[in-house]
């Protein structure tokens, strides 16, 4: 199967083929009418070439989309097969399956929980509750979503329950308010790593994340810390992808403003 780009015939080669097919040789037109006929023939050749170019471009685009789709589907299929094996093992109460399950997902659930609830003790409680809920429901899990997405959703709901116990007065931020334009315009992006990763800077960043409203913080943690896709994040949090993007955008700009104010002061001092 040909995998490289298909060579496009040049105008001259295509025209030559057409002329050879008609067994004619080029010569000066004998009359204005013959000249016009020749021009119209060249135009028809050019039109056919444009159609050919478009079909080639379209088929190349379709081919590349197909290759990418196949590789994405193969990757997803491999993940689903792997998850199916794991789920079957959990249903059979295989200790090895449980060990794999824990190793693969415990830190992720803990990390999401910590990001939402903000304390190690509560995050551990959430992780434990998540695994218990998941193991109780694993027999009924229908595999309509990825196992990780399902687990994250359980963890997020448990984290929200703890948060509501602790902070019942927190209200949802209004996503429709216009964001103010950024005001901290210090370019700290090129500061050396050791400055950006200093204990003080990390503490500023951690505090800034913790002070985000819960809805914004959850979107930011799912997308930028856990590295999940927009679609997965939206499923976990239980909002539309559009709403997820708005929250993520607000979270990023808010955090950037806080961190930029800190680094701006540091660079000015």
């Amino acid at each position: 199967m040909h995998t490289g780009p298909i060579a496009e015939p040049s105008t001259a080669e295509y025209a030559k083929g057409r002329f050879l097919r008609h067994r004619r040789t080029r010569s000066a037109p004998s009359s204005p009418r013959a000249g016009r006929i020749r021009i119209r023939r060249r135009e028809r050749i050019a039109d056919k070439q444009n159609v050919w170019k478009h079909r080639h471009a379209t088929s190349t685009v379709r081919y590349n989309w197909f290759r990418k789709s196949v590789s994405t589907l193969q990757s997803e299929r491999a993940t689903m097969d792997d998850e199916s094996v794991l789920i079957d093992g959990l249903r059979q109460r295989d200790p090895q399956a449980f060990a794999t399950f824990f190793e693969r997902y415990a830190d992720r659930m803990y990390r999401l929980a910590y990001g939402v609830v903000g304390s190690e003790a509560d995050a551990e409680e959430v992780a434990q509750a998540t695994f218990i809920s998941a193991l109780e429901a694993i027999d009924r899990f229908e595999q309509n979503a990825r196992l990780s997405t399902w687990l994250y959703r359980i963890a997020y709901n448990h984290a929200l329950m703890i948060l509501r116990r602790r902070r019942p007065e927190e209200s949802l931020p209004d996503d429709d308010n216009a964001l103010p334009m950024p005001s901290s315009l210090t370019d700290w992006s090129t500061l050396p790593e050791d400055r950006l990763l200093s204990r003080e800077a990390q503490e500023i960043l951690r505090k800034a994340i913790a002070e985000l409203p819960t809805t914004l913080r959850a979107a930011f943690i799912c997308r930028d810390i856990e590295g999940l896709s927009t679609a997965e994040c939206a499923q976990i949090i239980g909002v539309s992808e559009g709403a997820l993007k708005v929250r993520l955008h607000r979270a990023r700009l808010t955090l950037r403003e806080r961190v930029s104010a800190y680094f701006g002061e540091w660079m000015a001092s």
Partner: protein
């Protein structure tokens, strides 16, 4: 493209969720607008920082205890029968 429009589309640009025409407009704008370029660069840097440093794990001592508790709860449940599993 104005600065307000660029800021509104910033996340889409960073996440490569923007069509080619808008990407070209954004790139043309930041080539001439220092402020927007700073906002873009610092936002991208922030995301990298957070992704690299925010990957907390369960503290080692707590991890083992958590594993033991969960494993005990897991093994104490009977295996799923075929009637219970949902396809």
């Amino acid at each position: 493209m104005t600065c307000e429009e660029l800021i509104a589309h910033l996340s889409s640009y960073i996440d490569h969720e923007m069509d080619a025409d808008l990407v070209a407009e954004v790139q043309e704008h930041i080539a001439h607008c220092r402020n927007c370029r700073v906002v873009l660069d610092t936002t991208q840097r922030l995301i990298v920082l957070v992704h690299d440093e925010g990957r907390r794990i369960i503290p080692a001592g707590q991890r083992d205890a958590l594993f033991d508790r969960l494993q005990q709860a897991f093994l104490s449940r009977p295996p799923a029968s075929e009637a219970d599993t949902t396809v």
